[in-house]
C-alpha cells in the first residue's frame, strides 16, 4: 500500500470533510490511516476540536480498536489468522516456524519492511491457514509460502500456489 507521510494540512482537510457525518470518529480514523499509514498523535487534538469531544475520547478510541496504529507499518503488512478454524489447520505451527526460522513474532516486531499482526478470523475458514496480505486474502498457507510473502514475494503467486495445492 503506497501511503503518504504525515501532513497536517491534508489531515485537516480529511477531518473537515468527514466531521459532519453521524458517528464520524471511526470513519475519520480509517481515512487518516488509509492516507498516512497510521494515525499521528498530532491528529488527536484536531479530531477532538472538529467533533467537539475530548482528546481523551479520541485517544481512548484509538487505543481500543486493534486496527489503528500510532506509527507507520512496514511496507508489507501480513495479518495472520489465529482463530479456531485456522488452528485446526495448523496456524500455530506457522507462527512457531516464523519465530524459529525467521526470528519474527506477530504483534511484537515491526520494521519498515514487514509488519506481522494477529487477527481473529478473516472469513476464509474452510481454506485455512489464512492471512490478509496488504489487504488481499491468501488461503492454505504453508511455511514456504508464508516465508516468501514475508520476503515481499508476489501475493498472487501465493494465491495461485494455494489453489494448486488442493
Amino acid at each position: 500500500m503506497a501511503v503518504a507521510g504525515w501532513n497536517e494540512a491534508d489531515a485537516r482537510e480529511i477531518i473537515a470533510r468527514l466531521a459532519p457525518i453521524e458517528g464520524a470518529l471511526l470513519p475519520i480514523l480509517h481515512a487518516l490511516q488509509d492516507e498516512f499509514g497510521y494515525v499521528d498523535a498530532a491528529a488527536d487534538e484536531m479530531i477532538a476540536d472538529a467533533l467537539n469531544i475530548s482528546r481523551a475520547e479520541v485517544f481512548g478510541a484509538i487505543a481500543f480498536y486493534h486496527d489503528f496504529r500510532r506509527a507507520p507499518a512496514g511496507r508489507r503488512v501480513v495479518k495472520i489468522c489465529r482463530a479456531e478454524a485456522c488452528q485446526a489447520n495448523g496456524c500455530e505451527q506457522l507462527i512457531t516456524e516464523l519465530r524459529a526460522r525467521h526470528g519474527l513474532a506477530p504483534d511484537e516486531t515491526s520494521n519498515d519492511r514487514l509488519t506481522i499482526e494477529t487477527v481473529y478470523c478473516l472469513g476464509n475458514c474452510a481454506l485455512g491457514p489464512a492471512a490478509l496480505v496488504d489487504g488481499e486474502l491468501v488461503a492454505r498457507l504453508d511455511a514456504d509460502r508464508l516465508a516468501k510473502i514475508c520476503d515481499g514475494g508476489s501475493i498472487e503467486d501465493a494465491q495461485v500456489a494455494a489453489g494448486a495445492s488442493a
Binding site: E22, G23, A24, L25, L26, P27, L29, H30, L51, I53, E57, G60, A61, F64, Y65, H66, D67, F68, K79, C81, A83, E84, A85, C86, Q87, A88, N89, V119, Y120, C121, L122, G123, N124, C125, A126, L127, G128, A130, L132, G135, E136, L137, V138, A139, R140, E156, Q159, V160, A161, A162, G163, A164, A166
Partner: protein, 520 residues
C-alpha cells in the same frame, strides 16, 4: 459473429485467495489469442470452496462447472472445448445438478454464485425486489406480522424472534428510527455474511429497506468488520447502484417514503459483534457494551429506536415478504423455522457453505457434505457456533441442528459455523485459548469477563502443568459459573461454554502428565 460465450468466475474473497483473479487474466489472454469472444462475469461463490476457483460456462444444457481451475489449466480447458461445456478432468457437469447443490435448500443463498452481484437487472431477473415491491403495498404492522409468522429468529446467534424485535421498534414513537445490520461476523468458522455481502448485496439492501418501511426508519447502517475489505467494497458499491436506481433514497422505488443506508467499517474489535457495543462503535466511541435495559429497540443508535439484526436475518426477509410467511415456515423443525446457511470449516476435506432447513444432523453436514477431515485423520472434536460455542465429541455428531436440540446438549448453533478438528487437537489448549481470546477481546466493562478471562487462562495453565490440579479444577468450575451468571454480555457469559464442554467431553486432556513448557 456469434454472441460471446458467458463464462462465470467468482470474485468472492475466498476464490481470490486461491487465485481466481489470475485465472481470469489467463482466460482473457488465452481467448484473445485464439480469437474467440467470451464475456467474463464475476460472481459470488457457490460455496463449494474446496473447488475454487470454480469456473462456469453457459451452455444450452445449463451452466457447466470446472474446478479447481489454475491459470495453467486454461489452455487444456480451451482445447477440450471449455466454451461449449466440453469434457475435461476438471468438469463437474451442470452446476445445478451437482450433489452439493441439489441436497441443499438454497433460499437465502439462491442467487449467490449465479448472478453478477452488482447488476440490479440480474438481481431482478432472478426474483429480486419482489419482496420490497410487495412491502410497499403493505402496512408496517402487516410486514412485522409476516416476519413474526415466519418464525424467523435472529441468525446472529442469539435466536431471538425477529418479528418481536421489529414490533417493539414499530410501536416506539420517535422522530427518527434506525435499521442497523450487524455484519461484524467475527466468529471463527463463519463466513456466510461475508459471502452474502460479496455475492448478493442487493438482497441485504432489500431486507434493510423492508425493515425501514416496516417500522418507519429512514436510515440504515451496515457495520462491516475491517477484516472483510472485499465485502465492504462490494456492499458500498451495491449501495451506490441501488441509490442511483431509486431503490434507496428519498422515495424508495417511487413510493414517496424514504430509506437510505451506508456501509461503515469496524476496526478490529470482536466485541463489536455484540449489538450494544456495535452501536457505541457506530456512534464513534470505544466499543464498550451497554447494560440492558434499555433495549436497543427502544433506545438504540443515538438513543433512538433501532432494529439491530444480523445479515442473514435481514436477508431472509425479502423471501418471507415475497413468498409469504408460511412458505418460509414450512422449512425447519419445532421452534427453529426456515433455513440456516451452515459454514463448514477447519480441518475438513470439502469445506464451504451449505444452506439447509433446521433439523439436519451434524453428521449430514460434516460427513455427507464435508467428506471428513482434510488431514484424513479421525474427527475428534467439532466446535459449533464460533469461539463461544461448545466443543462436541465425535459421539454427538447425530445431534440435530436446531436451536433447542443444541441447547439441550449444552451447546449452541450460533451463527451456523462448524469447525472440525482431527485427533491431534489438544482440548486443554483450546480451553485455554477460549479464555485468552476473551481476555484479549473483552471490552473491559464488567469484572467477571475482564478479570475472569485472565484468571481462567492462568487456571487452565496450572491444571495442565499439574499444579494443585484438583483444587484448580474446582476453581475453574467456580469461575465458569461466575462468568456465566454475572457477565454483562455473551462474551463473558459464553466463554465458559467451550471451556466446560472441553472439560466434560475431553477430561483426559486436562489430566496428562505435565510437560515443562506447559507451565506458566
Amino acid at each position: 459473429m456469434s454472441a460471446p460465450v458467458r463464462v462465470f468466475v467468482p470474485k468472492d474473497a475466498a476464490a481470490s485467495s486461491l487465485g481466481a483473479d489470475a485465472v481470469v487474466r489467463a482466460l482473457v489472454a488465452a481467448t484473445h489469442e485464439r480469437g474467440v469472444a467470451v464475456e467474463i462475469v464475476r460472481t459470488g461463490s457457490r460455496g463449494m470452496l474446496w473447488l475454487e476457483p470454480l469456473v462456469e460456462v453457459e451452455t444450452a444444457q445449463g451452466r457447466i462447472a470446472y474446478g479447481p481451475v489454475a491459470p495453467r489449466d486454461v489452455a487444456s480447458l480451451l482445447d477440450a472445448g471449455l466454451l461449449s461445456g466440453g469434457a475435461h478432468r476438471l468438469s463437474h457437469g451442470v452446476v445445478d445438478k451437482m450433489d452439493w447443490m441439489v441436497r441443499q435448500s438454497r433460499v437465502t443463498f439462491a442467487r449467490v454464485g449465479a448472478i453478477d452481484p452488482l447488476s440490479l437487472s440480474d438481481y431482478r431477473a432472478h426474483g429480486g425486489l419482489r419482496g420490497l415491491e410487495r412491502a410497499l403495498r403493505m402496512s408496517g404492522a402487516d410486514i412485522v406480522e409476516a416476519v413474526k409468522q415466519s418464525g424467523l429468529r435472529g441468525r446472529g446467534g442469539a435466536g431471538f424472534p425477529t418479528g418481536v424485535k421489529w414490533k417493539t421498534v414499530l410501536d416506539a414513537a420517535a422522530p427518527q428510527k434506525y435499521v442497523v445490520c450487524n455484519a461484524d461476523e467475527g466468529d471463527s468458522g463463519t463466513f456466510a455474511d461475508r459471502m452474502l455481502m460479496e455475492g448478493d448485496p442487493f438482497l441485504l439492501i432489500e431486507g434493510m429497506a423492508i425493515a425501514g418501511l416496516a417500522v418507519g426508519a429512514t436510515k440504515g447502517y451496515v457495520y462491516i468488520r475491517s477484516e472483510y475489505p472485499h465485502a465492504f467494497r462490494a456492499m458500498s458499491d451495491a449501495i451506490d447502484v441501488a441509490r442511483k436506481a431509486g431503490v434507496l433514497g428519498a422515495s424508495v422505488l417511487g413510493c414517496g417514503r424514504a430509506f437510505d443506508m451506508e456501509a461503515r467499517l469496524g476496526a478490529g474489535a470482536y466485541i463489536c459483534g455484540e449489538e450494544t457495543s456495535l452501536l457505541e462503535s457506530l456512534e464513534g466511541k470505544r466499543g464498550v457494551v451497554r447494560a440492558k435495559p434499555p433495549l436497543p429497540a427502544l433506545e438504540g443508535l443515538f438513543g433512538k429506536p433501532t432494529i439491530v439484526n444480523n445479515v442473514l436475518s435481514l436477508a431472509a426477509v425479502p423471501t418471507i415478504v415475497a413468498d409469504g410467511a408460511q412458505a418460509y415456515a414450512e422449512y425447519g423443525v419445532g421452534r427453529s423455522r426456515g433455513t440456516l446457511p451452515f459454514q463448514l470449516a477447519g480441518n475438513v476435506k470439502r469445506g464451504g457453505l451449505v444452506e439447509l432447513a433446521f433439523g439436519a444432523t451434524l453428521r449430514d453436514v460434516i460427513e455427507g457434505f464435508g467428506g471428513g477431515t482434510r488431514s484424513g485423520r479421525p474427527i475428534r472434536a467439532v466446535q459449533v457456533g464460533g469461539p463461544l460455542g461448545a466443543y462436541l465429541p465425535a459421539s454427538q455428531l447425530d445431534a440435530p441442528l436446531d436451536y433447542e436440540a443444541f441447547a439441550a446438549i449444552g451447546a449452541m448453533l450460533g451463527h451456523g459455523g462448524i469447525v472440525v478438528f482431527d485427533d491431534t487437537v489438544d482440548m486443554a489448549a483450546q480451553a485455554r485459548f477460549a479464555f485468552e481470546f476473551c481476555a484479549k477481546e473483552s471490552c473491559g466493562k464488567c469484572t467477571p469477563c475482564r478479570i475472569g478471562a485472565v484468571r481462567g487462562a492462568e487456571t487452565v495453565g496450572r491444571i495442565v502443568a499439574g499444579i494443585e490440579r484438583e483444587k484448580n479444577l474446582v476453581v475453574l468450575d467456580d469461575l465458569n459459573k461466575l462468568m456465566t451468571d454475572a457477565s454483562l454480555c455473551a462474551m463473558g457469559g459464553l466463554t465458559p461454554m467451550p471451556v466446560m464442554s472441553a472439560l466434560r467431553h475431553f477430561p483426559e486432556d486436562f489430566r496428562r502428565a505435565p510437560q515443562r513448557q506447559a507451565a506458566e
